[in-house]
Every structure is written in C-alpha cells, then in structure tokens.
Amino acid sequence: IFWFNYRHVANTLSVYRSVKRLGIPDSHIVLMLADDMACNYRNPKPATVFSHKNMELNVYGDDVEVDYRGYEVTVENFLRVLTGRLPPSTPRSKRLLSDDRSNILIYLTGHGGNGFLKFQDSEEISNMELADAFEQMWQKRRYNELLFIIDTCQGASMYERFYSPNLMALASSQVGEDSLSVSHTFFTCLFQFKVCPQSQCVSTPGHRTDLFQRDPGSVLITDFFGSVRKVEITKDTINLTSPVEPPIKRSGSGDIQIESLTYVDQLPVAEIIHQKPKQKDWHPPDGFILGLWTLILLVFFQTYGIKHLKHIF
C-alpha cells in the first residue's frame, strides 16, 4: 500500500471508465482494486482519483462498483473468478458469468517481473498459472475470444506461456524492460500500434496474436471494450384469451382478513458462528524431518566421537 502505486489504481479506473462509457454494464464488469488511494490520508483531494496530473477527470466518481477490494484482491480470488471455482455463497456481482459467446477483456496492471505479476506486495501470480487458468476457461467454453492487456514491467513474459486458442495479448513492455506507465500514453500507443517511437513510450509494446483464430487486423477494439447486443424483431405472438375470473368466495363476514405479517427468518447467526472445524490433514510436526536428521547425526557422532571424524574424511 504505497503511495507511488497511485498510478496503477488510476490506470485501472481509467480502463473501467472507458469500458463503461462504451456500453458495458456493471453486471458484466469484475473490478479488483486495492482500493486504498481514494481515502488515503496522503490524497490531497479525498474520495477522488485522477488519471492525469491536470486533474481533469475524476475516474473514481460516484458510481464505481469495486467487486473485490483491499485484502480480497489475491491471486487465489483472481484465479477463482477466472475459472469459476467460487464458493456457492458468492453473489452474482463477484462472479464471471460468461458463456461461449462472450468476449472477455482482461486488464492487469501493477509491478511485475520476468514471468510473474505482483499482487499486493506479498503474492505473485506466475505466467504458468495464468496460462493454466485460461486453458480451464477454454475447456469449459467460458469465452469466445479473450483480449489480455498487461501493463507492468516485463509484461510480455506473462503471455509467453499461453496455449489456449482465441487469445490475443498485448503488453506494455518486453522482457528486460521496465514500464513506466502513464495510462494516456499507453492508450495512444495502443491505438497507433506500430507507430509509437521509443522516445515517447519509453518501453516497446509487445503483442501476441498467434493463438487468435480470426485475422487480427479485422478485430475491432470495441469487440472487447464495448458491447452492443444483437436484436431481433418479434414476429409471432400467441393468441391468449383472458381467463375467466374464478369467483372468490369470501367467508361470511364482510371484514377483510389481513394476515399478520412476520419477518422471514434472518440468517441463523448461531449456525454461522459455530462453523464446523475444518478437517486438517495430519502432517508430521514442523521440523520433524530436520529433527530426524539431527538425531541421526548425533547418534553417529556419539558412537564414534568427534576425533574419529578423521577416519571418515
């Protein structure tokens, strides 16, 4: 939770804004943010996050819907969202409910290295784990086409291991380069893809399109960034007749009986608190193996004494 990671939060929120502006509703966006910038005590303008130092656009806004924030942003949760292996109690907004016709855009930003991306300064996700997760998504047909954008140092290493079809990947820097990302320049790099000189972008963007089945030249950015639904006109209707109202027999008196309303049982708190203890597998106590070896060595030296070591060596 360092202040100079402000730019990562700003980047992610800018992408979030663009995607929303192009029509994708919140129910189709999973936003994972270490949401500690807007209310950070070092933020000169609290409750705001700006994407440019001119402070023109507050990307935080009133209607940002962060699905995973703070400590929930972990490698495990990210992989769970991708593969769909969430516990049954997870609400819809935290799930990736995609099917075989969905195009998915994944935007990752942060600190990274050769083959990994840092999560929250304490965890890493490796490129192999990401490739495996995408393969599981493909097996279950959870996407039609997937665009993977990564904005970290040595970002190109993250997509080296992909092996599932219909993936396209863009990275802001190659292996061995650092990415000093400012989101606006990155996006201009994105749109004028091969025309970005080294001087302006500092790092060379990389891309990988060999797993993509369509011709990459024909792919529109808006295929992933925006969404327009296919619509058909309803031509047929069914003729229904109004049903005959069944006569409602009221019991004798003219008073209307009103059922007394009761509250539905709230979640039984007692059950939640007294959870079954998790069954732990038996592991030998820590250091058991170390202890075993020490014992062996001690016995050895006990029997023969230190001075006889020279017979061994």
Binding site: E76, R85, E232, I238
Partner: protein
C-alpha cells in the same frame, strides 16, 4: 594397529548403516509427506466417453386403421381438433413418440387442401395419397412411407436440430444463416432459469399503471413452465421501475404522427436499461428479462419499425439469450381532459401473448417450417405442443450429454496435466456418478426412452458441473523448479555431505585394498 583397524571397520559399518537408513526410511518418508492427496478417478472410463457415439431412436408407430368410424362421426362437425383429441384418447402415446393416423383419401375429415393435420399432442392425421386398388397392403404401406417420413420429420427432431444442439462442440459445416441464428438465440442448457418481468414506467406523473402480473403469470406462463419442468427449474419474479427511460431518443414520424424506433437503434436500448434492473443476487442461474415499456405521455404513441420500415405488429423485439422488450402504448385509453395521473389497467393477455412467444424462442423451441399442405394446431394456453416439447427434450438431452461428457473429459485431462491439484474424495465421487449417469443416459437414448434419458442427462450434467467447479480444485501449488531447489538444499545438503563423503572414502579404500591384494598376489 588391530584396534585402529577395528575402529575403521566400525566406522565404515556406521557410515553404511546411516546411508541405508537415509535411503530406505528417509526418502520414502519425505516423498509421502510432501505429495498431494489425489483420490482415484475412473480415467479409463472417462477416455471412453471422449469417443462417445450417441444413437437416438425416434420411436414412431403407424396406425393403419383406416379411420372411417371416427371420421364419419366427425364429418358433420368438420371439427378436426376434436377428432384429434379423441384419437389421442385412443392411444396414450409415450413421451417422444409420434403417432400418425392415416385416413382415406376420400375422407372429408380434413379440408380439401390440407394433407396433414398436426395435433396439439403427439398425433397427426395424414390423408393417404391415391393408390391403385390392385396394390396389396405392402405396396400401399411402402407408398405411404414417404409421406409418413415427412410428417415425422416435421414433428420430431432431425439432423439439423441435433447439430444445432451441439453447436458449440461440433463445427457446423453446412450452416444456413437461419440455423446459426437459431443456435445462438436459445439459451444454453442450465439446471435452472430465472425469469424476470419488469414494468418500466418513465412517467409516473401521467400514468399510474396497474398490472396483475401474479395472475397473468399463473394463468399464462405457469402452464408452460410446468410443462417444461423436466428440463429445468424456473423461478419467476417481477419488478416495477419508475423513471426508467430508454437510452435511445425516438424520432417523430409525421406520416403516422407517432414516434418510431428504428430497428437499428434497438440494440442500443438494452444496455442502459439493464444497468437499472435488479436481479436475484443469490443464484447464478441465467436470467431471462422481459420488459414492458409504457412510453411517457410526451412520446406516445411509440412504434417499432423493422428493417423495411414497416410497423411491427407485436411492437416488441428480443435479444438472443437475454430476453425481450415490448412497447405498450396507452395514449388511446384516455383523453386530454383526464385527470393526471391516469389509472391504466394493462391488458395482460396481449402482453403475455408476446412474452410467451419470446419465451418459447429463448428456451429453444425451434421454429417449425411445415411443408405445404400441413396445418399445425395452435398450442393454445399450454403454450407448447407435446411434440414441440419432445423435440426440445431431444435436443436438450443431446446437449446435456455432450456438455457433461466434455466437462468430464476435460476435467480428467486437466487433473492429469496439472499434477499439483489436490483431488478430494467428494470430487472423485461426483465424477464417478457423472460417468454412470452419462452411460445410463446414452443407453436410454438408444432405447428411445426420452423421459429417462433426459433425467439421467440432467443428473450427469449437475454432477459434472459440481465436480468441475468445486472450489477446492485450485492449482495454487505451482512451484517453479528453482524455488524447489532453494527450499530443499539448505535442509538436505548438510546432511548428505558427510554421508556421501564417507561412502566415497569407503569405496576408494576398498579399491586400494583390492589393488594391493592384486599387487601382492602377483
């Protein structure tokens, strides 16, 4: 000298003993305690599933009674739907079967130009083509075969339906644009669906809308859902949204003095509205939304135009796998002098007629294009003819079997590939039960028992989904090789150095002794 020799000997034995303990006890112990628990999975049976071939039997029986007796009773009424009902009473046909009654050519049961009448249940009346009196029974029957085949292929499933059901697994080679649209429109098979009816009232100051949604759902939608109960569980809810506007501004068309929405702008309507719709947060079942939009007083009446600029009679449109929207104009129900807000009762029969048609499309009831001379009885209040239901059940069963088998085989492949995932006992149990259900489903499908096949396929898909998406199957135990080395070297290197060195010393001493002995004997 001898004592030293003895000491050395003992030293050698000690070193050997320790090396033996390390290898025999230490290494297996370390291996056992660091391996991941993986329950046994029936991999061989799963690989068989990979090359599964499904044969679906379409049972059809041909009733060759020449139905004179019944026909004559009905001639006077010329009411052939009643005839269909009485025929249905004759033989209760099982789920999935098609019964074709052949009536003589001269019979007046069917009107002149109608060759086949397809009833609401599973029966059809076929007027037999003219035949020579010289033919014997066999020739007559074989002549009928072509006609019967035509009837059966209309009422029951065909090659196209099966291919459409498998569209996301099997590459469709010869695809017509329409069948592609059909396969994309129907929502994927799922154990449950949520249907949400929403009333959008952008102008509560002018219109006070009343809709008897509960009654309408009970009378119109529920019969269809009851009929579809073997396929999935349905839950229905409704909501009313105030001040909800369409995201698109309609244009005023002077020629009809009404506002119009062109077909092109319809696709931009849904997303802004969807953001405001509530849904049941607790379940992750797919949602089908049906919206009823009553335009505000200033933009009434509002009509939808199709691509050829004609007015759409239903005034509704739908989006595949999402739901439908209908525009309901109320401007004719009140005059300018009415007191605002005007109380309006919405005609639920008309609304539900449209929604029911859209619901049928969403759920995958294929559009039938009967050949000429066929008359299809309207399904009426049930919403779905029995034979249409059968067709849906066939395609659902096949789709479920395909999906479940793909899930299981890919799960097995995944678990094989990624060696670090822990496989718990409950997952193994789910996988085994999925495999047995799949095998039963395929067997039932071959035998032609549609109801059982569907049930088994549903069980198979539930078990396979539960196994695949179990939260415990996470491959977080990926350690790159250099990390593994970094962990073990500080533990084992200090132990192994004395052992290895002492063993080496023993070996070199033994070699020297043998060389000495050799030199001595020479």
């Amino acid at each position: 000298m001898a004592a030293l020799q003895l000491e050395k000997q003992r030293g050698r034995y000690a070193a050997l003993a320790i090396a033996a303990v390390v290898i025999v006890v230490g290494i297996p112990l370390w291996w056992k305690t660091t391996e991941t628990y993986r329950a046994w999975l029936p991999f061989s049976e799963i690989s068989e599933l990979d090359s599964l071939q499904v044969h679906a039997l379409r049972p059809s029986s041909r009733q060759n009674h020449v139905c004179d007796s019944i026909g004559s009773a009905m001639i006077y009424n010329r009411v052939f739907d009643k005839a269909d009902l009485s025929l249905h009473m004759l033989s209760e046909s099982s789920c999935g079967s098609v019964v074709v009654y052949v009536i003589p050519e001269s019979s007046t049961l069917l009107p002149e130009d109608v060759k086949v009448y397809v009833g609401q249940r599973r029966t059809a009346l076929l007027r037999s083509p003219p035949f020579k009196t010289s033919w014997n029974l066999k020739e007559v029957l074989s002549n009928l075969d072509v006609e019967v085949e035509q009837v059966v292929s209309t009422m029951s499933f065909g090659h196209q339906d099966i291919v459409a059901a498998l569209s996301n697994r099997v590459r469709m080679t010869k695809v017509t644009k329409e069948s592609m649209a059909d396969s994309m429109r129907a929502i994927k098979s799922s154990p449950g669906y949520e249907i949400t009816f929403s009333l959008l009232n952008p102008d509560p100051k002018s219109h006070s809308l009343h809709w008897d949604i509960e009654g309408a759902v009970q009378s119109y939608i529920q019969p269809l859902l009851n009929k579809l109960a073997p396929i999935a569980n349905f839950s229905v809810d409704s909501q009313i949204l105030y001040y909800a506007v369409l995201g698109v501004n309609p244009r005023f068309d002077n020629s009809v003095s009404a506002y119009t929405l062109s077909a092109d702008s319809l696709s931009h309507v849904i997303n802004p509205v969807e953001a405001r719709l509530g849904s049941n947060a607790a379940s992750s079942n797919p949602v089908l939304n049906f919206l009823l939009y009553v335009p505000d007083a200033h933009h009434s009446p509002l009509f939808i135009r199709d691509h050829s600029k004609r007015k759409v009679p239903s005034n509704a449109f739908h989006s595949p796998r999402w739901g439908g929207i209908m525009v309901y104009n109320v401007n004719e129900m009140y005059g300018p002098e009415a007191e605002r807000p005007v109380d309006i009762n919405i005609n639920m029969a008309k609304v539900m007629g449209v929604f029911l048609a859209q619901l049928r499309l969403m759920l995958g009831v294929q559009h039938t294009h009967p050949p000429t001379g066929f008359v299809l009885q309207s399904p009426g209040s049930a919403g779905l003819a029995d034979w249409e239901l059968d067709r849906l059940l066939w395609s659902r069963s096949v789709e479920n079997i395909a999906t479940a088998s793909t899930t299981i085989t890919s799960l097995a492949q995944l678990l094989d590939q990624i060696g670090n995932i822990v496989i718990n006992d409950n997952i193994a149990q789910q996988v085994s039960s999925a495999v047995t259900s799949l095998q039963s489903a395929v067997a039932e499908l071959e035998a032609g028992n549609l109801a059982f096949a569907l049930q088994y396929s549903r069980e198979a898909i539930l078990a396979s989904e539960r196994a695949f998406f179990d939260p415990s199957l996470l491959h977080l135990l990926y350690f790159p090789d250099d990390q593994k080395f970094a962990i073990y070297i500080p533990l084992f290197l200090p132990m192994c150095v004395p052992i290895v060195l002492s063993l080496l010393k023993i070996v070199s001493e033994a070699k020297k002794r043998r060389a000495d002995k050799q030199a001595k004997s020479d």
